[in-house]
Each structure stands twice: as structure tokens, then as C-alpha cells.
Subunit: 168 residues, 6 copies
């Protein structure tokens, strides 16, 4: 079977707007980190699905940073795009911008990198379309994603001491 | 002001058991990744609070891996411990174990590393107790955490091409 | 105090993407109508806030139509824009598009018209910017919104028989 | 197949009491509009089911008005009844009353009209029982509902300019 | 200060209708017990508030029985009334009836007895109105509630072995 | 078929940690009783499943007492163990401890006794392992559980006056 035809990053763009309600708050009256992660996961999964048009599951998340907190009542905008496509997985970048509803002032509050795996009807991995980068930023982003993947594969088998330290 | 006295990792141990209900499921009838991240964030935050006894906010998450999916009806057990304490932040490791309720069979399904920052009453950063490791696994886990922190600080300022590639 | 300067409809554009999870489903395994209404309300409120930059409350909803159902696992995209600005209220249009994640096929599934009122710090109504329409579609949409408002004001005081019929 | 026997409006009466918890609040500490819509949709759907004894889906909502806000801690009582039955659809009226728990004072805060379609086992539309009105208020409410339906059918195909204006 | 005037049980009647959605289900596709308990607690609290017109907190729950399970898609009706009023607390009875939406067939699925304490503005206990029973069933129900209260007070200090057995 | 081999109470131990978020609060800014009941039900069900390794459903809850309220931002730890095993049902004890995150001070806030029934694949009751108590506290706790069961069976058929008093 020939591989699916390549697709540009803009085909996987996702914009998700949310408002921080009291039910999304932590005890300090700002957006609860776990809720933001939940939105990042959904936003990233939709992006991966728009690239590969298969069911996807989250394989990993890295470099999630909370640069600033988001108050209850603020608007948040999540943006996602596929940064690199591997054989049956994709790295997706997600940014979260906080917006003061009264002034319109915006700033980057959170960002994260996620890897999703594409699954076929039988639950097995399936091949995804190659990514056809179109701009210099996209090309560099793709190269960085490939470098991170090399690092991740190299690190395999390491770092389990902390899991042993947890016992259980 | 003298720094708070050191505390061993076992003082920050947290065990959180959950059952996967249909309201926690993704469309494939397994635990939705974003919900598991939410639990990891809460479990890690409680661990950090047990170490520092201050309000904490999530600063970052790394090396979150979903090793296996968890079916609706299964039991999950999250375990967390502080792996390393820095000046006003702590790295916490969280593991998630899936348990088949009918057989008792368990396996590691997810793991993640989180950094939390301790905040005082005025919302500013506060010093946290040093970590007093007691076992060889704890000592190695602590050393690895310090190495990861060095890497994170070194990477600062890099990797923003992907954010530019997202536009927005 | 001079009125705020006019703003074009595109300044109030909102895009909100969601994935239908089992926790959003009705007993027929499609998106539960009440959950879609909840998202429409938030999406419309953000749009109204982007136009007026004040706190807003929902005053009314009309012409909400479910043209088609949306299956669990599908992607939904809500789009909102201010259609007309009155003295201290705004009519916002919201469309909901369902997207089959496996084929990318999309169709309009729901649409609704909402009115939001702008509130100042003291909780009283405040003046909102006039709407500066730029295209022919926007001009007609604005005229229709003004006609609907006339109708709504004319209907006031009518139609309360059904409320009496409910008793209580 | 002969049509099902007629049923009076009181057979479809539904009373739903809720308490406004912080998880139901908007950032102004009053009931979040979208949550109230969710309850209205469920309350109306139960009413329609009690009339037709089939699965139902929401087809439209109109004349939803928020007359007053409801504070966190207040009690709300929703009441619904079928106002008119058409061939395979029903119009249901829902009122929402806010009650100050400390004084017992009540006032109408929200009202809405919804149309539900009855579906058979195969997912196709099915005939619903005629409505047998018993009081003068019920008779007028039924006549008004029939008039609204005529209007709705007449408006079909109109009003799509605002959807074009949204683009997307 | 003279005690508040007595009130009959019907003044504290509450009817709460809910529909079992997939988000309310356990892994067996029936209503999740914990969700039903949540509704019982709210329904009972509203009843207690209608009797005493103060803030209330749950003090205890007893004799909660699940007589039958409730399927997803079914309608549930909770009914509550104050059964007995003590100095600053009230016993409330709650019944839960399941209704097959397609046949209208109903049966009692759950029942529970709860005690709520009335709190004043300062958070301290306040006196509640005496209960003025009007029917023979109400009189016997009240006598049984008083007997249960005697038993509860007599049992105090007992039954802590099981808590010791739990350790922790 | 021979009965399953006996198991000690520690095999059914469950520890569940939660943090009280604003979405778990009542209007008094403390943990909402219904949410705590929900957690107790899940914690107890996991304990029962760890004893019997079958699907379980909640049959009853008794002696649920809220000894103290839990503030938003506090940590709660639920602990559960099987106290007694009958033919196809088990009594489980659950304690809830509140922990001030800033001081580490803990106190028992809630406790409850639940009965779960074990169900086989076909939905019918199945035999559960006998409980092999190991300590004196466990032996007394088991004896008390058996006494409560006798009482419950003796009370059957009584106490329905309050249900009649509710009407409905």
C-alpha cells in the first residue's frame, strides 16, 4: 500500500476558545492546571486527527510550561498544529494564550508538545501522511521535533530510578 | 530567616485511587488522556504541598508517557513523591498503575515528572525544605532530577520556532 | 461621555473547537443538546465581550435549531460574531459545524441567535460600541437583527398564557 | 395504524429542583447561563417523553429569556409542560423560578420554548399523541404554539445572511 | 427570643427530576451510586432549607438503600420532606423513583434518611421551626424519626473499632 | 463449586487522596456533602472489588456522619476496607480525613458504612471470599458488622411510614 499523500501544517490547525469559569478554578481563583492540560490534550488530539484522519491516542507530553496564571473570568485561546509526522505518530505543538476580557490584552500563558499515535479500525498502528512544511519557521520546528524524537529514543530505558524510588 | 529543616521523600508520598467511569472515557472507551493528566496534576500538587506546606502552582510537566491504555471499569492508582527540592520549587514524580478489577493484575500505564513552585501568602515565591534522601534509589532519582533541571535551564530561549510556526 | 468608537464584526470573531466525549453524550450516543447549548452560550459570550470589553450576561436566545445530530467522537467547531449592536446589548450569531474526524466531511449541525447585555463594574448597563459593518452579508445580517429586535419588543407582554398554563 | 390516544398537558408535567452550587456559577457569582440552558433542555425533554413515550431529540429552542439572575446558594425550580403536539413533534414550555433560600421569596427568572421530535427504535420520526387541552389557558397556549409553528415554517430559507456573514 | 412558628411537612416538599445521561453512569451502564447520592444530598438540603430558611449542612445519612438499578436513559424523580424537627436539626426522608421513559412504568429504586443542621450567619447552630404533622402517616413517621435519633445518641462512642481497624 | 479462599482485610485496603477544588464546594465554600458521598461510594466500591474480584453495586449506606467540614484548598484522604463478608455481599468501612495543607494538621471529618453486592458476568449475585480477620480490632469490627446486618434484616418491612408520608 502506498503511503498517504503529504499534507501541510496548516491543514491541522485548531483554534479552541474557552472561558475560565469558577468550575475550572484552583483554590487560588486561577485556572486549575489540570483543566488546562485537559484542554491541551483535546486540542492536540483534534489537530493530530485533522492531519491523519484516524483515531488517535496520546502517547506523551513534554515541555508543558505554565508561564503565567489565568484568572477566573479570562478568555483562553488554544492553538495547535502538527510540527512533525513520523511513521505512525505525530508531534503536535499547543500554545495557550490568556486574554483579559476587559482590555483585550493577551499573553502566552502555557505551551506544550504532545505526541499522538494513529490507530486503525482494528486498534493497530497505521501510517500517517508525511508533513509538507512550507515556511522557514515550519522547517526549523520540524527539525527540532525530529531532534527531540532522537533524544527520546536515546533516553529509553533510563530514568527509571525515580519510579523505583516511588515504590508501590 | 534560616531555611526550613530537611524532609525525606516519604513525607511527600501520595496515593490516589480512582475508578474509570464512562464520564472519564474517550470515544474508544478507554480513559481519556486529559482526565488522567488532571489527576496527575492534583496528585503531584498534593505531594508538593506535603513537602513544603505552602500553596503551590504547576510550573511544568515533562516526560508524561502513556505506556498502555486503561479500560472503563478499571481501577487506577496514582503514586507521587518529591524527587528533588530546589530553592522554591520541587520536582515530583507520578506513576499511574492500571488494575484489572476482576483479576487484580496491575501494570504501569502512565508516568510523569512535574515541577511545582511554592507561593507564600502574598503570592510571591518562598523557600522550600531541602530533600533528605534516604535510599540509593532516592539518591539517584534526585541526581537525575538535578540533571534535568540543568538541561531545562540550558534549553531556555530555544525551541520557540514551533510557537512562531503556530502563528496566532 | 462620548460613545465608544465603532468596531467591525470581525473583531468579535470567536472559534471554539470541541470533541464529543462520552461525558457529552445523550442516551442515543450523540451530543446531548444541553451541552451544545452550554458551548453556544460561552462562545457567544466571548464574542460579545470581544466587541464591548465589558462583563456580559445572556439576555435571550432564539432560533436555536439542531439541523443534524453529532456522534460521539466527532469534532465540533463553533463560530460566533456580533451581528448587531444596540445601546447596551448585542445580538450574536453562533454556528456549530460537525466534522467527521475520519473523513474531514463537515456540515452545519446547529445555529442560534443570542442577545447579551453589557454590565459595568457596578453591575449596571453600559453603552457598547456601534457595529461598523463592512460587507453586504454583514449589512443584511445587521438589518435582520434590527428587525428581530423590533419584533421582540412588539411581542413583549404577549405569550404569557403558556406560563399561566404551567401553573406552579 | 391508528394514532395514539390524546393526552392532557398535565400528563407531561415535570418539576425539577436544583441548587446553584459554585460549579454552576459564572465569573459574576450567579448561575451560568449555559448551565441553566442545560437544565431547561433536560426538563423539556422529560416532559416531551412523558407525552409521547418515545426517545426524543431537541429540534429547536426559542424565546429563551433571562429575566433576572440567580445567585449561588439559591434554589431553582424548573417546570415544563407540552403546549402543543404536532404530527411527530411537540412544543414544550419551560419556566425557571429562583427562590431565596433564606426568605422563601420567589420570582420567575427564565422561560423558554422548545420543540422536540419523537424517534422510534429505528431512529425515524414517529407519530405522537394529540394534545387534549382542558383549560382556557391551555387552549390559548396551544393556539399560540400553532401560530409560532406557522411562523417558523414561513421563515424557513430566510435569515441565512448572518450565517454567511460568519464565514468559516 | 421566641421559637419560630411551627410548619407542616408539606411546606418542605421538594420534587427533583433528572435524566440518567452517560455521564451519570457506572461501568455497568446504570446510574452510578455516587451520583444518585449527590442528588439525594441536594434534594434533602433544599427540603431542610424550605423548612428552616437558614443555611444547612449535612450531618448524617442513614438507611440509604438501592432497591433496584436505573438504566441510562431512564427518568428519576426524587421526593423529599422533613420528617421531624429537633432543636437545630431536621431529619429529611428522600425517595428516588425510576421511570421507564418508553412505558411510564415506575418503581421505587432508592430511599434515604438524612439529618441536616441549620446554621446562622455567624456559622453557629440556630433553632428551627417545630414540625406540625397533619396526617397519621406523618405522625408515625415523626415518631420513628425521634426513635432513630434516640438510638443514634445511644450509639455514640460505640462502633469505633472498625475505624481503628482501618488504621491510617 | 467450592467457595473462594478467604482473604484478610488488608487485601481490600484503598487509599484515595483528593484536593477540594471550587468545583467541589457548597455555597459556604466548604466541601459539598454530595461530592464527598460520591468519593466514598467509589472508594468503597474499589475496596469491595479488591476483596471479591467481581463487578459490584452499592446496596446500602449507613452511619454516614460529617464530623467536621472541609475547606476549599484542603486535602482529603479516604481509606476503605472490607469489615465483613457475607454470602454475596460485603460491608465496607470508609473514613475521610481532612488535612490542612499549610500545617499538615489532620482530623477525621467523615465516616460511613456501605454494603456492596457482587455480580457475575450474567448480572446475578455471586459468592464472595470469606474474610479472614487477623487482629483484635478487625475481629470486633467484623462482629459489629454481623450485628448490624442482623438488625437490618430485622428492620425489613418497617419504617415505610415515612415513605407513605412523602406521597408521590
Amino acid at each position: 500500500m502506498s503511503p498517504p499523500p503529504p499534507k501541510p501544517p496548516r491543514d491541522s490547525e485548531v483554534v479552541m476558545t474557552q472561558m475560565i469559569l469558577p468550575s475550572d478554578a484552583n483554590p487560588l481563583n486561577a485556572a486549575f492546571g489540570g483543566r488546562v492540560m485537559e484542554w491541551i490534550d483535546i486540542c492536540g488530539a483534534v489537530s493530530a486527527q485533522r492531519h491523519c484522519r484516524h483515531a488517535v491516542v496520546t502517547a506523551s507530553m513534554d515541555d508543558l510550561h505554565f508561564h503565567a496564571s489565568i484568572r477566573v473570568g479570562w478568555i483562553v485561546t488554544l492553538r495547535a498544529r502538527v510540527l512533525a509526522a513520523f511513521r505512525s505518530s505525530m508531534e503536535v505543538g499547543v500554545t495557550v494564550t490568556g486574554e483579559n476580557p476587559l482590555t483585550g490584552e493577551k499573553h502566552l500563558t502555557t505551551s506544550a508538545l504532545l505526541t499522538f499515535v494513529a490507530l486503525g479500525q482494528d486498534g493497530g498502528k497505521v501510517e500517517v501522511p508525511p508533513l509538507q512544511v512550507e515556511t522557514e519557521d515550519e522547517r526549523i520546528a520540524q527539525a527540532e521535533a525530529h531532534a527531540r524524537r532522537e533524544e527520546r529514543l536515546a533516553r529509553r530505558g533510563m530514568g527509571t530510578h525515580w519510579q523505583k524510588a516511588l515504590g508501590g
